[in-house]
């Protein structure tokens, strides 16, 4: 197969090498600065990120190692028109997914209609504890990260919906701050839509979903603690929203309410923005060995005396085996045509798909149904023969645990690398917020695969980030 980087859509240049209108001002600016100046700025950014402590831990490496996610100094630019379409499409998806979750945990009309198979109820991410439970506003995914890739001028695909505890929004906000600080003169050449109000929108939404009758709700952010890979983000968001950053040990349940331990005694908590997976939330309901959770929390939640964001049991809707039904959900619940397409997906649990995939492994991307973070996946075109053989063994052991998709030539963006400025593949994760209305701020986490030719953008696999500029006109 041809090198994906040369055949991919280049966000900055047309096939004949001309600079697209959107990037003209950026190109002019780039011509006026030297490679050395850019590298200098890049180092300055690294120093600032390190000082602020915007670091993450990679699992499996020695404990306490703190690494920076590389930051690329060249922004990704989207026009107002492009953004409008992405934004409408992402909002449409999240509306449908929230309706789906409500339906699945109540009447299950979509199963009765034969659109989604009843086997979904056997998915380990389906939580029977949530059956018949009403959540405030019918909202399950208060925060959703929709991963979008581009393969041509007008072709965008949704790669996956992250509805559990999606992370990365702090990079959207910190990258913006960094770009404004490092390159005010470039920033001024564009009319970039602001993103800084994200925490305020989120806080308003969280307050709006407090249990009925609570006038002035206390909202907290529940983190697994300082050793979690996304701890910086938890601390950052709590600080930006002015809410307490709590760990499981700070909360306790008494008389069917949740309280936090304060220096002045117990204080009632009404809304928990939790960044802990379902499994660890409550040792009495889920994993009994969890030290991170709060015993009794789920029982309070089911009684409606505390709101969790996101709700328990959203994982069943962002599972890769459920993903294939999202376009149908949009038609079923909203009566609309999907604005953003799904990537064609093969389910290895199904006979025909299984045979096709095994014959075409070198061309396909194969993923674990419940994997995330770029772990447990095979990128056929860049994998070695041995890697493909090994992965094949894994698939044979449990076929229904995998899905496969054609290898998409993700679009590329100019990126500062050691040899100069070169195209590198990117994706986009806008964050959709659901409260009284469903909204998103005009910006996104843009991840970039820094290794030449690589299509894996995950930070745990050597990916970096870029600031995303959505133009206002």
């Amino acid at each position: 197969m041809a090198n994906p980087t040369t055949t991919a859509f280049d966000e900055m240049r047309t096939g004949s090498g001309d600079v697209r209108p959107l990037y003209e001002a950026c190109d002019q600016w780039l011509r006026g600065v030297t490679q050395a100046q850019l590298s200098q700025k890049s180092k300055e950014a690294e120093l600032l990120f390190r000082r602020v402590g915007i670091t993450f831990n990679v699992y499996g490496e020695d404990a306490g190692a703190e690494r920076l996610i590389p930051f690329d100094v060249i922004p990704r630019i989207l026009s107002a028109g492009e953004w409008q379409r992405l934004s409408d499409g992402a909002i449409q998806r999240v509306r449908a997914l929230n309706l789906f979750l409500h339906d699945l945990y109540h009447k299950q009309e979509i199963i009765k209609a034969g659109i989604v198979p009843a086997s979904i109820l056997a998915n380990s991410q389906y939580r029977p504890e949530m059956q018949g439970v009403d959540v405030p506003g019918g909202i399950y995914a208060h925060i959703a990260g929709i991963d979008i890739v581009r393969t041509a001028e007008d072709t965008f695909y949704v790669l996956e919906d992250n509805l559990r505890t999606p992370s990365g929004v702090s990079y959207m906000l910190e990258d913006r701050k960094m770009m404004m600080r490092l390159f005010p003169e470039l920033f001024r050449r564009y009319s970039v839509a602001p993103v800084e109000h994200y925490p305020q929108v989120l806080l308003n939404n969280l307050r709006a979903v407090a249990p009925d009758g609570v006038r002035n709700p206390t909202v907290v952010l529940l983190t697994p603690g300082a050793y979690n890979s996304a701890y910086f983000e938890h601390a950052f968001l709590a600080q930006q929203m002015g809410i307490e950053l709590v760990e499981g040990q700070d909360l306790f349940v008494r008389d069917n309410y949740v309280y936090m331990r304060t220096t002045e005694g117990p204080k009632q908590v009404d809304v928990i923005y939790r960044r802990i997976d379902d499994d660890f939330l409550d040792p009495l309901a889920f994993r009994p060995d969890s030290m991170l959770g709060v015993p009794g929390l789920v029982s309070v939640y089911r009684s409606g005396n505390v709101t969790l964001a996101n709700a328990i049991g959203t994982g069943v809707a962002d599972d890769k085996s459920t993903y294939i039904y999202v376009p149908e959900m949009i038609r079923f619940y909203l009566g609309e045509e999907p604005i953003l397409s799904n990537v064609p997906t093969y389910k290895l649990g199904e006979k025909d798909d299984f045979a096709y995939v095994l014959d075409h492994l070198p061309e396909l991307v194969v993923k674990e149904v419940q994997g995330s973070g770029g772990y447990g996946m095979l990128v056929g075109p860049t994998a070695s023969k041995q890697q493909i053989l090994d992965f094949r063994e894994q698939i044979l052991a449990n076929p229904s645990n995998y899905i496969a998709q054609p290898t998409l030539a993700l679009s590329t963006c100019p990126t500062l690398v050691e040899q100069g400025i070169a195209p590198r593949h990117v994706d986009l994760r806008p964050f959709v917020l659901s409260g009284k209305t469903v909204t998103l701020v005009p910006g996104a986490l843009c991840r970039v695969a820094l290794r030449e030719g690589s299509l894996v953008v995950n930070s745990s696999q050597g990916g970096g980030t870029k600031d995303t500029w959505v133009l206002q006109c």
Partner: protein, 315 residues
């Protein structure tokens, strides 16, 4: 505020203050070793800083000989020594990292960049050549941190717990510093009031940044009595026990929790000793005994604060 948050802020400040005090003691010891190396043995010179920190036995078991290199290694770099400058600053940063939300971003950056630079310095090596500059650096970073705290942090309970940690730790350190003179055995040829005695008492003053203040206040030769008065009873001397307890008492008046009466009682009792006490009475009962008793009571106060406000289960 969250008890855990208060706990982290309190200990963050304590550890930074502890690192600063270790640096002060070490710095003065190094300078004394240059002045006194003819008249005193290595043990006499290098034992006192370990007595101050209260870990003579551990040191002897691990290192044996009292040499400059060993003591510097133990007090600065030894990760098994919880009071080494490296351990204290690591702990301060760990505590800060756990509650970065509760402080201003300037405070967090101050602690974090201190910790990052510490790593570089440790990798570059810290020995007798570097120790003077290193101690200055620790002191100035500690001053910077307190200054940043003072000028950027909201005056909420978080601020009070952060300050409380500073003064509880400082009071303990000042008392230990003063008490160490009790252990310093004068060489047989030297009497009280001799040259060595002078240098030792002035070293105590230097370690507490009190040398210049002493000259201003007393305009007199350095005597044990007056040094003690300055570091125990004077309320206008920032590192004195009296000054520390002025702060602690004011802070605790603002903090209230169910069952905090015992804290207030203990603070009031200690504060009264410094506020109304007389040097004659203290010396009559013995300065050493007075200080030992204080260190124990200050420690008990720390435990009571811990029990009342910090990590303590209600359910």
């Amino acid at each position: 505020m969250l008890s855990r948050t208060a706990d982290h802020l309190y200990w963050m400040s304590r550890y930074i203050e502890r690192a600063e005090n270790m640096a002060r003691v070490l710095d003065v010891t190094c300078r004394m070793s240059l002045v006194l190396n003819i008249t005193q043995s290595e043990v006499d010179l290098w034992r006192p800083p370990l007595q101050i920190a209260g870990n003579v036995n551990v040191f002897e078991a691990k290192y044996g000989a009292y040499t400059a290199a060993n003591v510097i290694r133990y007090m600065v770099l030894d990760e098994d020594n919880p009071s080494s400058i490296l351990s204290a600053l690591d702990s301060a940063r760990e505590n800060a990292r756990a509650v970065r939300v509760a402080m201003s971003s300037e405070m967090w950056e101050s602690v974090n960049s201190l910790w990052l630079e510490l790593g570089q310095r440790v990798r570059a090596g810290i020995g007798e050549m570097e120790i003077g500059e290193f101690c200055d650096w620790v002191k100035s970073r500690s001053h910077l941190f307190r200054g940043v705290t003072y000028s950027t942090m909201l005056r909420d309970d978080g601020y009070r717990f952060a300050r409380l940690g500073t003064f509880i730790e400082r009071a303990d350190n000042t008392a230990r510093l003063l008490d160490v003179k009790y252990h310093c055995l004068l060489p047989a040829t030297e009497g009280v009031g001799g040259a060595v005695d002078y240098y030792e008492w002035s070293a105590v003053l230097h370690a507490a940044s009190a040398f210049e203040a002493y000259q201003k206040v007393f305009r007199d030769t350095i005597t044990p009595w007056k040094v003690s008065e300055l570091l125990v009873l004077r309320h206008d001397m920032p590192r004195s026990l009296h000054a520390c307890f002025d702060e602690i008492m004011a802070i605790l008046e603002h903090l209230s929790a169910a069952g905090s009466e015992e804290c207030n009682r203990m603070v009031g009792e200690l504060h009264a000793r410094f506020h109304y006490g007389r040097m004659e009475d203290i010396f009559q009962g013995g300065l050493h005994e007075f200080l030992l008793d204080f260190i124990a009571r200050n420690n008990a106060l720390g435990n009571e604060i811990q029990r009342t406000f910090l990590r303590h289960p209600w359910s």
